[in-house]
Amino acid sequence: MPEIFQRASPLADIAIQGRFGADHGAPGVTLSVRHPALIVTVIARKGKAKTLAEALKNWRGATVQWAGAEQYFVLDRPFDEVRKKLDGLASCSDQSHGRVIIRIEGPKVRQVLCKGTPVDLHESEFEIGKSVLTQMAHVGVHLTRVERDAFELSVFRGFSESFWEWLTEQAEEFGYQVI
C-alpha cells in the first residue's frame, strides 16, 4: 500500500551522504538510515508465548527480532496485517514512527560499537540474527547483527539525532561514509 503522505525522517537533515572523518583508504564503516520503516511491537498474551513464537517463525516478508521476554519487533509488515495475523496471541503496538533504525557495516563495525555497548559482539558470542536490548551513550538501543560485519541499531526517534552525532563521532577515527 503506497503511503499518501510523505513520511519525514528525523534524520533527514542530519544523515547527509558523503565521506567523513579520517582517511585511511576505504571507510572503516558505512552508515545508513532505514527509513521509512515498518515496526510493530508484539507482546505475547498470557500463556501464548509458545504459540506466538511458532506463529512468528518463517514469516515470509517479515523480519522478526527478539525484543525482550515474550516480546518481539516485527519489521517490514504493516501494523494492521501484523495485528490481524496475531489476533488473540499477542498485543501489538505500532512503532513505525517511534523508532529509527540505523544500519552500520564495515570492517571496523565492532570497534565502533564497543565504544557504546557492554555486550560482547565477538562472533563466538553473537551470531548473525541475534538481537539484544542494551544502552549506548545513555540511549536505549535495540541492536541486531544482520550480517557478519553489519548491525542495525534501533533507537527512540527523539534520541536519534543525538545518537547519530555520537555514533559518527566514534566512527571518525576509522573514517566513515553515509549512504
Binding site: P36, I43, G47, Q95, C114, H122, A137, F156, R157, G158
Partner: protein, 972 residues
C-alpha cells in the same frame, strides 16, 4: 661518554633527535626517551620541589611510582599539572615547567619553611591556628592553601577528546614483563581471547631495562619475538600505554589507554585518551615488583634514586645519572646496578651493603659491609655521602635498594589485604580466587626462571603447562634495613608529602597508633604516588615504635587508582553539550520554524514560547494565552508519556494502579486518573482512554513517564504476575498537539474527515480514532488542560510537522497562534490545575483537592498508607489559590506564607507559594500555594515572605480555580 648520555646502547633512536623545553630552557633528547631520561642525559636533576618544605627534588624512579619529578606539561588549555617526568614520552616540541616553587625552581622562597621545620611536625596544624577565631578563614587558611598543592591546573575547557569503550576477553594479562609475556603466549597459543596491557609505551617490562638472557638470546630479543608473535594473532589484543587502574566487581578492570599523550596534539579524529572497561573471564596480575628506598638522612637530595632506576636509565635510555656512583643496598640487586654501571663505563665508588655478609658478585668494586649512609651532602645535586662511621665518600649519584615490594595494588582493590612474607621481607598478594591470580614478581617470585614458570602456569587455561625457555638467574637475598637510625639529616619516608622517619613514632606516641591513624596524622602515603615507594618503610618504622610485627601493623587500604586517572578519560565524550543526550519532539522543526525558544525539560527540548518581534518571554506567553483563550492555540504536548496497555486484564490492572476506577470507563472515552505511591503520596496523574475493551492508552506527565513505566512493570511482575496484561511505551510513536480555544472546534473541523465535532458527535472526554486530511489515521481526544474547549490530536510522529502546519493553516482565518509551555503553565495555574510544583512527592490526593477520587471499593497502590494520621491531619498544607492583596504586586514562587500579623519564624510558617503566573486574563500575578488547613482559609489575608529576594507583601487566599470557575468555556 659525552656528558651524561652514554655512547652506546639503550633503546633510544639516536637518529631521531627531539627538541624540548624545560623551565624555559631548550634541550635535546631522542625518540624513546622520557622527559626524565632526557633531562638526566642533559645533566638536569633538579626537577621539582617538595610539598611542605619545598626541598629540591630530582627523579627517584624510572616509572609510574615517581613522587618527585612532577611537572606541568604543555601550556594553556592543555596544561596538565603533576605529570610524572618518568612517564612522559619525549616528543618534538614538548614544553614542561617545574612546579610548587616561586620565583624559580633554583631559588624557591618556600624553602624557608625548612627553617621552621622543627615545629612543622606531624599534627602541627591541629594544635594551633585557633586564635583568634576569625583568623582561620581570613588569614591562616588562605596562606596554608596557597603553600599547599602542587601544580596549577588549567581552568579552560580542554580542547581534546576522550572516548570510552568496553572489551571482553577470556584472559587479561596485566603487565608485559617476562611473566606477563609468558602468560599471554601460553594462553593465546591455546586459542583463548587474550588482552595484554602494559602502562609503558614499550612492551617487555623489566626486560627492556635489564641485561637478561632467555632461551639463548637476550631478554630483550626474546621479548620482542614474543610480542611480535602475539601481535600477529587474531585472538590477541595488545595494548601498550594502557594502565589498568582498578579491579572491580565481576572481574571488571578499569583501564586508560593513553592514545595520544606522546604527541604534541592529537589528530582531530582521535581521542587523547580512551577509557576501557575490560570484562575478563580470568586475569593475571603480572605487574612486577617495585624497588623500595631506604630511609636515611638526605635520601631525597637530587641524584639519589633507586638502584633499579639508575640501572634503567643507563640500560634502556643510555643516560648516566652520575659520573661517580655510590650504591647503598640491603639486598643483592644493588650489586646488579653496580656491575651494569661499570659495564657502561661509569665509575662506581663503592657498594655500601648494610648486611654483614653477602655472596653477591661485586665485580671488583669495593664493598663496605655492614655500612650505612647517615647523610647525603649536596643541595640541588648529590656531592657525597656521609657514612655511619663518619667516613665521607664523594659522588654525584646514589643508588639505593631497600628490597623489592610486589606490586599488589590491583588485587587488593576489592578489600583483601596483602600478607607479610618474611622470606622476601615484603607484603605479597592475597588469594582472591581463581578469576584473578598473581604471577611473577608481583607474586613474590624474584628469580627470572620462577617468573617465566609462573607466567606459563597462570596462562594455562586448559591442558598442560608448557615448559619454559632457559634463562640465567641471580640469587635474591635481602636482610631488611628500613631506616638508618643514626641518620643526621632529614630522612624521608614519603617524599612528596615530606613525612619523615620521626613523624611516625611521634604519631604513635600521641595515640595515633593504628597504621590508618598514623597515615592520616602524618599524611605518609597520601601523596600522588600513594606510598608506592615508602609505605613499607613507614609500616616498619611504626611497627618498631609500637612493638608490633609487620603483620600486626599491616598495610593501609589499597584503593583505585593504580596511578591517577584524568577526569577527561572517565567522562569520555559525555561533557559539554553532550553531557546527556538531547530528546526532540516530532514537532521540533515546526516549532523551530515559528521561532520557538526551547527549554530543557528532563532530556526533552520543549518549545517554551514563540516570541514575535520585540517580545520578551512574558509578553510572548501572555499574547499566546490571549490568543488561545480568545481564539485558538496550538501546543506541542508530544512529551507526555504514552503507554499502550492491552490484554484481558488491562482494566483490572489500571484499577489497581490508579486510585480511581477504570474498569467502568466506556470504550471511546477518556478519564483523568491519579496514581499514588505505596506510601499513600501522589505519584502521577494523566488522562487515560479506552480504545477497545482490552486496550487502553495511558498518559503520564512528562517528568514521570519513565518512572511510571518502571512502576507498572514492577507491580505487574512482582505483585500480580497472574494478570493478562501487556504494555509498551508508545510515547515516541505519536506527535501530539493540543488545540485549544473557542475556535478549536472550527479549526479542527477543517482537517477532520467525516466526523462532525459537535457535542453529540464528539462530546467532552471522547477519545476516538479518526481520519484527517483525507486519509491519515489519527487519534482525537476531547480533553483540556487549559480550561478551554480543547482537543488533543495524535498523529504518527513522521507526520507531526506536516499536520501541525496544516492546522496552522486551517486556523489562520481564526487567528490561531502556537503556544509554548509557558502559556500552557499560565493557563493551568489560572485554572488551578496541579502540576510539578504541587505534585512534588509530599502531597496527598486530599492535599491536592482530589481526595474524592480515592475509591473505597477496591485495592490500589497506596490505599492503606494514605489513611495514616499524619497524611489525613486537617492542618496539612493543601492547595489553595493566592493573589496579591495589592494587585500591582508580583508574587514569586517559593515565597512562604505567614499569618497576617506574625513575625517570620519556622513555627509561624504556614506554607509556601508553589506556582505563579502573570494572568493576562485577570491582569495580575496569581498563583497556587500549599497552605496549612488551606481549604478553610479562602478569603484570608496573609503575609507573603520572600526573604531571599527581600520582597514582602500581603496576599489573599482563594479558590485555586482563578479563572472561569464554572467551566463555561470548557463546555462552550
Amino acid at each position: 661518554m659525552t656528558g651524561f648520555r652514554l655512547d652506546r646502547g639503550g633503546l633510544i633512536d639516536r637518529t631521531a633527535p627531539l627538541d624540548f623545553i624545560f623551565d624555559g630552557k631548550a634541550f635535546t633528547g631522542f625518540a624513546g626517551d622520557t622527559l626524565a631520561s632526557a633531562l638526566i642525559a642533559n645533566d638536569v636533576h633538579l626537577m621539582g620541589r617538595s610539598f611542605k618544605y619545598h626541598r629540591p627534588r630530582g627523579v627517584i624512579s624510572a616509572g609510574s611510582s615517581e613522587p618527585n619529578a612532577l611537572v606541568e606539561l604543555r601550556e594553556g588549555a592543555r596544561k596538565e599539572a603533576n605529570t610524572r617526568a618518568t612517564m612522559i614520552e619525549l616528543y618534538d616540541g614538548l614544553v614542561a615547567r617545574s612546579q610548587n616553587r616561586w620565583p624559580s625552581l633554583g631559588f624557591d622562597i618556600g624553602a624557608l619553611n625548612s627553617l621552621a621545620s622543627a615545629m612543622f611536625v606531624a599534627g602541627f596544624y591541629y594544635k594551633t591556628f585557633m586564635w583568634p577565631k576569625s583568623f582561620w578563614e581570613k588569614i591562616y587558611e588562605p596562606i596554608i592553601r596557597k603553600a599547599a598543592g602542587l601544580g596549577t591546573a588549567s581552568k579552560e575547557a580542554d580542547p581534546d577528546k576522550y572516548e570510552k569503550a568496553y572489551a571482553h576477553c577470556d584472559f587479561l594479562v596485566v603487565g608485559s614483563g617476562p611473566t606477563g609475556l609468558m602468560a599471554a603466549l601460553t594462553a593465546a597459543r591455546s586459542g583463548a581471547r587474550v588482552i595484554l596491557a602494559d602502562e609503558s609505551a614499550a612492551l617487555g617490562g623489566s626486560l627492556l631495562n635489564e641485561n637478561e638472557e632467555i632461551g639463548g638470546m637476550s631478554g630483550y630479543a626474546w621479548a620482542m619475538a614474543g610480542i611480535a608473535e602475539l601481535s600477529a594473532m587474531p585472538n590477541v589484543i595488545v595494548m601498550p600505554r594502557t594502565t589498568i587502574f582498578g579491579w572491580y566487581d565481576g572481574n571488571i578492570f578499569g583501564a586508560v589507554e593513553r592514545v595520544n599523550d606522546h604527541v604534541l596534539e592529537p589528530s582531530p579524529y582521535e581521542p587523547r585518551q580512551r577509557y576501557w572497561r575490560i570484562m575478563a573471564k580470568r586475569a593475571v596480575m603480572a605487574t612486577g615488583a617495585e624497588e623500595r628506598p631506604i630511609v636515611f638522612g638526605g635520601n631525597d637530595v637530587p641524584g639519589v634514586m633507586t638502584a633499579g632506576a639508575l640501572r634503567t636509565y643507563a640500560n634502556r635510555y643510555a643516560a648516566a645519572a652520575g659520573k661517580s656512583v655510590v650504591v647503598f643496598t640491603n639486598n643483592n640487586s644493588g650489586y646488579h646496578t653496580a656491575r651494569d654501571m661499570k659495564t657502561h663505563g661509569v665509575h662506581v665508588e663503592v657498594i655500601i651493603d648494610s648486611r654483614k655478609e653477602s655472596a653477591a658478585d661485586s665485580s671488583g668494586i669495593p664493598v663496605i659491609r655492614g655500612g650505612a649512609i647517615v647523610n647525603v651532602r649536596g643541595g640541588k645535586r648529590v656531592s657525597g655521602v656521609e657514612l655511619a662511621d663518619h667516613r665521607m665518600v664523594p659522588c654525584d649519584a646514589v643508588a639505593m635498594s631497600g628490597g623489592w615490594s610486589p606490586i599488589v595494588n590491583l588485587m587488593c582493590h576489592r578489600g583483601a589485604k596483602p600478607k607479610w612474607d618474611e622470606r622476601i621481607a615484603s607484603f605479597v598478594p592475597p588469594d582472591v580466587g581463581g578469576g584473578f591470580v598473581a604471577a611473577g614478581s608481583a607474586a613474590g617470585r624474584m628469580l627470572l626462571s620462577e617468573c617465566l614458570a609462573d607466567g606459563a602456569r597462570a596462562g594455562t587455561l586448559k591442558g598442560k603447562t608448557p615448559s619454559i625457555p632457559k634463562c640465567r638467574d641471580e640469587a635474591f637475598a635481602v636482610t631488611p634495613l628500613w631506616w638508618v637510625k643514626e641518620s643526621t639529616g632529614k630522612a624521608f619516608v614519603d617524599y612528596q608529602n615530606d613525612s619523615t622517619a620521626k613523624d611516625l613514632p611521634l604519631a604513635a606516641q600521641e595515640g595515633y597508633r593504628d597504621i590508618e591513624l598514623a597515615k592520616r596524622y602524618t599524611t605518609a602515603g597520601m601523596a600522588t604516588d600513594q606510598g608506592k615507594l615508602g609505605n613499607v618503610n613507614a609500616i616498619a618504622i611504626l611497627a618498631e615504635a609500637t612493638g608490633r610485627s609487620m603483620d600486626q601493623v599491616g598495610t593501609t587500604t589499597f584503593r583505585p587508582y593504580y596511578t591517577p586517572v584524568s577526569f577527561g578519560a572517565l567522562a569520555g565524550p559525555f561533557v559539554g553539550r553532550h553531557f546527556q543526550p538531547v530528546r526532540k519532539t516530532p514537532l521540533h522543526d515546526w516549532a523551530d520554524e515559528l521561532g520557538a525558544v526551547f527549554v530543557e525539560t528532563g532530556l526533552w527540548m520543549r518549545s517554551s514560547w514563540f516570541p514575535q518581534e520585540g517580545e520578551d518571554w512574558l509578553s510572548s506567553a501572555s499574547r499566546e494565552v490571549l490568543a488561545t483563550r480568545q481564539r485558538v492555540g496550538l501546543c506541542d504536548v508530544s512529551t507526555l508519556g504514552k503507554i499502550d496497555v492491552q490484554g484481558k486484564d488491562a482494566a483490572e490492572f489500571l484499577n489497581r494502579l490508579y486510585c480511581n476506577t477504570f474498569s467502568t470507563l466506556d470504550v471511546g472515552k477518556a478519564r483523568y486518573g491519579l496514581m499514588l505511591r505505596e506510601d499513600g503520596i501522589v505519584f502521577d496523574d494523566g488522562t487515560t482512554s479506552r480504545l477497545a475493551p482490552d486496550h487502553f492508552l495511558m498518559t503520564t506527565t512528562t517528568a514521570n513517564a519513565a518512572r511510571v513505566m518502571s512502576h507498572m512493570e514492577f507491580c505487574h511482575q512482582a505483585h500480580w504476575p497472574e494478570l493478562d496484561v501487556q504494555y509498551v511505551s508508545v510515547t515516541e510513536q505519536w506527535a501530539q498537539m493540543a488545540i485549544a480555544g473557542p475556535k478549536a472546534r472550527a479549526t479542527l473541523q477543517k482537517i477532520v474527515d467525516k466526523v462532525t465535532l459537535d457535542d453529540t458527535g464528539f462530546p467532552y472526554l471522547v477519545a476516538k480514532e479518526i481520519s484527517i486530511l483525507g486519509g491519515m489515521t489519527a487519534r482525537l481526544f476531547r480533553i483540556s488542560f487549559s480550561g478551554e474547549h480543547a482537543y488533543e490530536l495524535a498523529v504518527p510522529a513522521d507526520y507531526g510537522n506536516l499536520v501541525a502546519r496544516a492546522i496552522m493553516q486551517a486556523g489562520e482565518e481564526f487567528g490561531i497562534a502556537p503556544y509554548g509551555i509557558e502559556a500552557l503553565s499560565i493557563m493551568r495555574i489560572e485554572k488551578g490545575h496541579v502540576a510539578g510544583g504541587e505534585l512534588n512527592g509530599t502531597t496527598t490526593a486530599a492535599d491536592l483537592g482530589l481526595g474524592k477520587m480515592m475509591s473505597s471499593k477496591k485495592d490500589y497502590i497506596g490505599r492503606m498508607m494514605a489513611a495514616r494520621e499524619g497524611l489525613t491531619d486537617k492542618n496539612r498544607q493543601c492547595v489553595v489559590g493566592i493573589r496579591p492583596f495589592d494587585v500591582a504586586d508580583k508574587i514569586r514562587s517559593g515565597s512562604h506564607i505567614l499569618k497576617k500579623d506574625d513575625a517570620p519564624s519556622m513555627a509561624a510558617d504556614q506554607g509556601y507559594v508553589s506556582s505563579v503566573a502573570w494572568s493576562p486574563m485577570l491582569n495580575m500575578w496569581l498563583g497556587l500555594a500549599l497552605l496549612s488547613n488551606g481549604r478553610e482559609r479562602h478569603g484570608e489575608v496573609v503575609k507573603i515572605f520572600d526573604g531571599v529576594r527581600n520582597i514582602h507583601m500581603f496576599g489573599v487566599i482563594c479558590d485555586p480555580m482563578h479563572y472561569d470557575r464554572e467551566n463555561k468555556k470548557l463546555h462552550a
